[in-house]
C-alpha cells in the first residue's frame, strides 16, 4: 500500500520549500451518502512536519479543509539531503507517517 502522503521538499539556498498532498476523505459529518445516511465526520486533525529533530510546521485542521488536503510552506535551516518527517492523525485515531529527503 502506497503512502497516503506525497511530499515535495526542495532546497533553494537557505530556504526549503515544502508541498504536501495527503489522501484523506476529510468528511464533514454533514453530508449524506447515496442512501440518505449521514457520512460520519472523518478528518485529519493534526499534520506535523519535523526536520532535524525540530517541528518546522504544524497544522491543526477542521472539516473545512478540502478532500485530499494540500499545504505549502517554507522554512529555513535545512539543506539538501536532510530528512523531513511528516505525520498526521485524524479524529478516528487513524494516522500515517512518511519521510522525504530534501532535494
Amino acid at each position: 500500500m502506497a503512502s497516503s502522503i506525497r511530499v515535495r521538499a526542495t532546497s533553494n539556498g537557505d530556504i526549503t520549500e515544502v508541498q504536501a498532498l495527503i489522501q484523506h476523505p476529510m468528511d464533514t459529518g454533514l453530508v449524506k451518502d447515496s442512501k440518505g445516511e449521514l457520512i460520519p465526520a472523518h478528518f485529519i486533525q493534526e499534520l506535523k512536519f519535523e526536520c532535524n529533530g525540530k517541528d518546522v510546521f504544524v497544522a491543526n485542521w477542521g472539516t473545512a479543509v478540502s478532500k485530499d488536503p494540500y499545504v505549502k510552506f517554507s522554512f529555513k535551516g535545512a539543506k539538501k539531503g536532510d530528512e523531513l518527517k511528516i505525520s498526521w492523525t485524524d479524529n478516528k485515531g487513524g494516522s500515517d507517517t512518511t519521510t522525504a529527503k530534501i532535494a
Binding site: A2, R6, R8, Q19, A20, L21, K67, D68, Y70, K72
Partner: protein
Amino acid sequence: MKPRSALLLGSLSAALVAFALTSPRVVAADKVDPIADAKAFQNFFFQKFPNVTHEDFVNGPYSMNEDMKRQWQEKEEFPPYEFALDAGKEVFSTPFKNGKTYADCFPNGGIGIRQNYPYFDTKEGKVVTLELALNRCREANGEAPYSYVKDEMASLTAYMAYTSRGKPMDIKIPDDPRALAAFENGKRYFYTRRGQMNFSCASCHVQSPGERIRAETLAPALGILNAMPIYRSEWSGMGTTSRRFVTCNSQTRAVPLEPQSDEYRDVEYFLSYVANGLPISGPGARP
C-alpha cells in the same frame, strides 16, 4: 410540480429563442468530409476566441477565464489527480494472473500512445476507445473488466495519458465506408438535441463555451477529450470520458446510454478527430 414545470418551460423557450438567433447558417448536407469538418470546427473556435492560443483549448474552461486559470495553476502545483496517476502506474505495471501485462496488449508497450485513441478497427468495423481496449485486454487475459466510469479505469487512462502528454492528437479515418459512417454518426450525436432541456452537446460546448450555465463554466468542445480522464472537484474524484458523456446526458435530463455504447464510441471518435493536432493534456483537473 406545476410551478417547477412552468419555470422550466419558460427557460426552455428563452433558450430556444437564443438558439434561433445564433444558429450557424444551414448548408445542404452532402457527402461526409472529415478533413473539411475538422478544419471548419477548429476555425470556428479559433475565430470565436482569437485570444486563446490553439494549444490552450485543451485546458477546457481554464482557457476561457483568467481567474479560474489562476486557481487551476495553483492546483496544478500538486494536482488532485496525483494519487490516481500513481495508482494507475502501479496497476499498469502489475502483471495479470497469467503473467502478462497491459503492455503486451498495446503498441509501444502502451506508453505514449494515448493520442491514437480512439481508432477505427477495420476488422470489427467499429470504433475502439482506449477504455474499451483496456477492458478487452483484461478479458483476453482472464481478468474481469473494470467499471468504465472511474476508479481503476480512470487511473489506468490517467497514467497512459500522462505518458503521452504534449503529443498531438492523431486520429485516423481509414478508407472504409464504415469508418466514415461512424464519424458521421458521432457528429450527428454531437449536434442532436436531447433530454427535456432540449440541449445538444453543441448547445453548451459550441454555442456557449466560457459562459456559465447555472454554476459551471462551459468548456469548449475543441480539445475537450484531450484532457481526459479528469479529476473533477464536483465529483471529488476521477472520471473517464465515459463518465463525462453520462453526466452530460443526465444534466440535460436525458437518460444516459450505456458507457461504450456505439453512440458514445462514435461521438468520441468525432470529437477526437476534429481535435487532431492539439496536444494531449490529460489527466486534467476540472471544477
